[in-house]
């Protein structure tokens, strides 16, 4: 239910902000594209609307904040919170002889994380007597109302109504105080209104995630600070990728230049390429344990095939007229290699490097999820076992940002080192 409601809110913000921006913000830049009269179907006129991007990110945080009761978003945007505080309801007890009496149950509902303190009320007199109950928000409580009553359930007493509304074993009811049902043995099961907010154990508010970020940056998690977890993961990726490129690129060149190499390694490369690196994790653990060696070999294997195939297609992609031109200009074989084949294959190799870095980053997190002593993946796995959802979320966000950063770095390097890519 809550999920559908969130989806509806999300779509509503999407539509309303789109209309609002279209209506209020006029395009101020006048470039060639804005002069085109035919724009629908012309892909070149579609540029990301940066206002939309900003609103999109803001919307995610707004919805996150309002459905977790975050202090960072204004109170009026909060979704209804689960009930907390004092409430009370009256139950009607019917004795075995048909005599009836009312008594009040005083309930204190405590917020998540608050200490639950018991309290007492004067039970009063009569067949049924008043009770005091404590519970946590969003939970239901089984209330053994008859502990202090004159006749208890064993003696044949039973609840017949709550707040004047009749209730039976198969007929749960809903009142202003919450939802009531009778258990098989006749006790009252009470659940105060849950609201629409998520419990922190499912989805903590953004501030809790940021707090965790600062906390783990300063105090660490499982003996390592956040940047140490991140650093060790990055080290594994870079070491694995570097070794993979170191072996894979020459291997790819050899496959592109020699029929024996191509024949020899073709079956191996074509077989290993479709094997997901994740499928190798168990074997790596059996062979090399859960230490650095096993991780780096795994990432080496993840990068190796990608880089070999990239280098091979970089060599086979060389325009034969370039080779002919170089020969007829007097270049020797080794000069053809270093001045034509290698530079010509660089764009392909960079494309491969981008893919390989992405795969390595995904694989290292997965490998750490399975077994590791440190690393960002181990951090979220260990946290999830203790329901520390805020650490899990923080870890996921850090993984996403770092992965994005790696891709940007490789793209920047690409535009500096191979500016001719895609332009010849």
């Amino acid at each position: 239910m809550t999920g559908l409601f969130i989806l509806f809110v999300y779509i509503a913000i999407f539509v309303i902000s789109s209309l609002a921006v279209k209506f209020f913000v006029h395009r101020t830049t006048k470039d060639y594209t804005s002069l085109k009269t035919v724009t629908f179907g012309d892909e070149s006129t579609v540029r990301p609307n940066r206002i939309a991007s900003v609103i999109s990110v803001a919307t995610v945080f707004l919805i996150w904040g309002s459905f977790t009761g975050s202090a960072w978003v204004p109170g009026f945007t909060h979704a209804p919170a689960p009930f907390a505080g004092e409430t009370a309801f009256t139950y009607t007890l019917e004795g075995p002889d048909g005599a009836r009496d009312d008594a009040v149950v005083h309930v204190r509902v405590f917020d998540f994380g608050d200490d639950v303190a018991n309290f007492e009320v004067d039970p009063g007199v009569g067949l049924a007597r008043d009770d005091a109950v404590t519970m946590t928000a969003s939970r239901s409580a089984t209330i053994l109302f008859d502990k202090n009553d004159e006749v208890d359930r064993k003696a044949g007493a039973k609840v017949v109504a709550i707040d004047g509304v009749e209730i039976g074993p198969d007929a749960p009811i809903r009142t202003d105080a919450g939802r009531f049902a009778l258990t098989a043995k006749g006790a009252i099961s009470f659940a105060p209104p849950r609201g629409l907010q998520m419990e922190p154990i499912w989805l903590p508010p953004p501030e809790a995630v940021v707090k965790r970020f600062i906390d783990i940056s300063r105090n660490g998690f499982r003996n390592y600070l956040l940047h140490e977890h991140l650093g060790i993961s990055l080290f594994r990726v870079i070491a694995g990728f570097f070794l993979g490129a170191l072996v894979g690129i020459p291997l790819g060149y050899a496959m592109g230049l020699s029929d024996w190499f191509r024949g020899w390694f073709d079956p191996i490369v074509e077989f290993m390429r479709p094997v997901p690196p994740l499928a190798l994790i168990p074997l790596m653990i059996i062979w090399f344990g859960i230490g650095e060696v096993s991780k780096i070999i795994l990432l080496f294997l993840a990068a190796l095939w990608i880089m070999a195939i990239a280098a091979r297609s970089g060599v086979s992609g060389v325009n034969i007229t370039k080779i002919h031109a170089a020969y007829s200009l007097g270049a020797k074989k080794h000069q053809i290699m270093s001045h034509v084949i290698v530079p010509n294959s660089l764009p392909e190799i960079f494309t491969g490097a981008r893919v390989a870095m992405g795969v390595c980053w995904g694989t290292v997190v997965a490998a750490e999820l399975v077994a590791a002593e440190n690393g960002i993946g181990m951090m979220i796995m260990a946290a999830s076992k203790f329901q520390q959802t805020d650490i899990v979320l923080m870890g996921i966000i850090v993984i996403g940002i770092v992965g994005f950063g790696i891709d940007i770095l490789v793209r920047k390097a690409e535009s500096v080192l191979v500016p001719w890519k895609g332009r010849s």
Partner: protein
């Protein structure tokens, strides 16, 4: 003996599904040093195959190529080549492309710098020498290809439709440049082209090839290249005999094309 001799060249390609294609049959001719010969012919007549054999990229199944008294066995800097397009090195700027040949020989800039800069001047590239290849227009790129070939100081220049990918106006300008460079350097040039006009304007000597098997069909000695060295190429087109030659060659090629089509239809 100086010059380029093409002696009884034959070329037979085996095709994968059995059988073979006779691309060239017994082609012989001799080019004197400094001669500019253009080669015309319908598609499939073996022009490019012949050029690749002269360049040394292909070994003929019969006959031999002799340049200045020695046999051609493979590609070499003495036979420079200008391709239609895609042969420049995008990872080098214009000047590095032009100086590629001398640098591969291990020469220092002191040895080639002046020559290369002179060639950049002549080809009108002086202002573009630090530009990347992909920043240049198609015509500019072909100027680089010409200059790169000349920087290596080859004995023979082989041109495989060097102006084929250019628009008509640029093409005309480049034809003038080719003539100018030919006169200035005195190189032996073999020019393959699809354009009858270009072949007549630039070829001191012109051969028309016929297909299946590829062979020399007819040979002309033409005065227009010499005229073009000193006059505007447009005026040359109004010179006596120009139109007549053009019509004659066009008809010849049309007939060949028709014959090919007819034969293909008959085979079906």
């Amino acid at each position: 003996m100086t010059g380029l001799s093409i002696e009884n060249i034959s070329m037979r390609f085996d095709i994968p599904n059995g059988g073979s294609v006779q691309a060239l049959e017994d082609v012989s001719l001799h080019l004197k040093e400094g001669e500019l010969m253009s080669v015309l012919g319908p598609s499939g007549c073996g022009k490019t195959t012949l050029l690749n054999i002269v360049a040394g990229f292909l070994a003929p199944t019969g006959g031999q190529i002799v340049l200045n008294g020695h046999n051609v066995t493979g590609p070499d800097a003495e036979r420079g080549m200008v391709f239609q397009q895609g042969a420049l090195f995008e990872w080098m700027d214009v000047r590095d492309n032009v100086s590629f040949g001398p640098r591969m020989k291990g020469q220092k800039e002191a040895q080639w710098g002046e020559h290369v800069d002179h060639l950049l001047d002549v080809t009108g590239l002086a202002d573009f020498k630090d530009k990347a290849i992909y920043e240049l227009s198609g015509g500019m790129q072909q100027r680089v290809a010409l200059a790169r070939c000349l920087a290596n100081d080859p004995d023979v220049i082989l041109m495989d439709e060097p102006l084929g990918a250019l628009d008509a106006l640029t093409r005309e300008k480049m034809q003038g440049l080719v003539l100018k460079l030919w006169k200035e350097t005195g190189k032996t040039i073999v020019l393959i082209t699809h354009s009858v006009e270009e072949a007549i304007l630039l070829g001191e000597r012109l051969i028309v090839m016929a297909p299946r098997p590829g062979r020399i069909h007819k040979e002309y000695q033409l005065p227009f290249a010499d005229m073009g060295v000193n006059a505007d190429l447009r005026e040359v087109k109004h010179a006596d005999g120009y139109n007549q030659t053009r019509e004659e060659i066009l008809e010849m090629i049309w007939d060949m094309e028709e014959e090919i089509m007819g034969r293909t239809e008959a085979a079906q």
